[in-house]
């Protein structure tokens, strides 16, 4: 199946100690994410003008110091949060890849955004991740592990919302040979899935806020 977004499930504010926490799963790929709000920062890492953002993606096995997903998540978050709003503070975003059944990068980005929404910290725009792979020059969105392993090229879009509300590429991570047309086509697939994910954000937050309906 080409343009098919797997079933998404999410549960928010289920961890006791994290300010904002979310467990998000797309199909069988499951991620736990937490975002601890503007807190105090150690003098060595303090930045006078802006908030210090401490992002880390943790895998199941092996050491997690330098994981390739860290850069795309860090750059997306730095763009999504207006860091100058809280000078001399720090925020810690942790994403644990609990179970990996394909497109773990996209699920990590969605989990991070849910954690940020649950935290309630002011930030600029909602963002999400979509992975598009090319399998025998056929484009597949949100692939499973098998499809991803057999693919000849992968591109991970991190999408945030432009001023007009439509999806807009925030950062991109392409692996494998891609020419411009195919990237264009991949982007055409990524847009509807981004819209679907943004609607899912809205539904979950709506449900969460429905408790204090007057």
């Amino acid at each position: 199946m080409v343009g098919r977004l797997r079933e998404m499930r999410c549960e928010v504010s289920f961890l006791k100690n994290a300010d904002g926490s979310a467990s998000f799963s797309q199909g069988a790929t499951c991620v736990w994410a937490s975002c601890s709000g503007p807190g105090d920062v150690h003098a060595s890492k303090a930045n006078e003008e802006a908030m210090t953002l401490d992002v880390s993606y943790r895998t199941n096995c092996g050491d997690n110091k330098f994981h390739e997903l860290n850069n795309i998540i860090q750059s997306t978050l730095s763009k999504a949060i207006n860091l100058e709003l809280f000078p001399h503070t720090s925020a810690a975003v942790t994403i644990h890849g609990i179970q990996d059944d394909g497109s773990i990068g996209a699920v990590a980005l969605n989990g991070a955004c849910f954690a940020l929404l649950d935290n309630g910290m002011p930030f600029e725009t909602v963002f999400c991740g979509v992975l598009v792979v090319r399998l025998k020059d056929e484009l597949i969105v949100d692939p499973t592990a098998k499809q991803e392993a057999a693919s000849t090229g992968r591109v991970l879009f991190s999408i945030c919302r432009g001023s007009d509300g439509g999806p807009e590429v925030c950062s991109m991570d392409a692996i494998g040979p891609w020419d411009f047309e195919q990237l264009e086509a991949a982007w055409c697939y990524a847009q509807p899935s981004a819209r679907a994910i943004f609607d899912f954000y809205r539904n979950v937050m709506q449900r969460k806020h429905s408790v204090d309906e007057q």
Binding site: N47, E48, E49, A50, T52, L53, E84, P87
Partner: protein, 188 residues
């Protein structure tokens, strides 16, 4: 991690080790506040620039907008302290006071009137000086007795500093203590 480093204008600055000295504490606070103000000014300009550039038309409409981030004003919340079934009488008095304040019958500065009398006025006007004098005049034993009497007389609430207003108004009510006379400052 890109850190936006604005260019540092060289200003004659006191060394940080000097500023950490105990006696330089207030000076250090002043310098920090000044630095914070200049940084806020920069931040304000940056925000104003970004706004001015985004809204091309003259920003007259903005003048009438007002910002208020305080939830208790926005949602007209009740006062934070509540007591039910007479657990704490002081708080229940407060609840009525704030209830009236919220419904606007009572403007903020006007007092509730019922327990303000001349001694009260003398206390607040005389304020610290009189209290200190009367305290000094008492002998130590009297003062110790006064101190522990404060502990248990306030409905289980141990005020370890003499809260003149509460003590005074309550004593009037229960009257265990002799009426507190206006103490003429003895000029020894």
């Amino acid at each position: 991690m890109t850190s936006t480093s604005s260019e540092r204008v060289v200003v004659k600055e006191l060394s940080s080790s000097l500023l950490d000295m105990k006696f330089m504490l207030s000076r250090k606070k002043k310098i920090e506040a000044k630095k914070a103000k200049s940084r806020d000014a920069q931040l304000e300009e940056k925000i104003r620039e970004s706004e001015a550039s985004s809204s091309s038309i003259a920003v007259t409409a903005e003048a009438k907008l007002e910002y208020c981030n305080d939830y208790s004003k926005l949602e007209n919340l009740l006062f934070g302290r509540m007591s039910f079934n007479g657990f704490n009488k002081d708080v229940e008095l407060l609840m009525e006071y704030y209830e009236k304040l919220r419904n606007g019958e009572l403007t903020d500065d006007e007092d509730e009137g019922m327990d303000v009398n001349d001694q009260e006025m003398a206390q607040t006007m005389g304020g610290g000086k009189l209290a200190a004098l009367s305290k000094k005049a008492q002998t130590k034993r009297e003062r110790a007795q006064q101190q522990e009497q404060n502990q248990e007389s306030s409905g289980g609430r141990r005020f370890n500093f003499k809260d003149i207003r509460k003590r005074y108004s309550e004593q009037n009510g229960e009257g265990e203590e002799p009426e507190r006379k206006f103490m003429r400052p003895n000029d020894d």
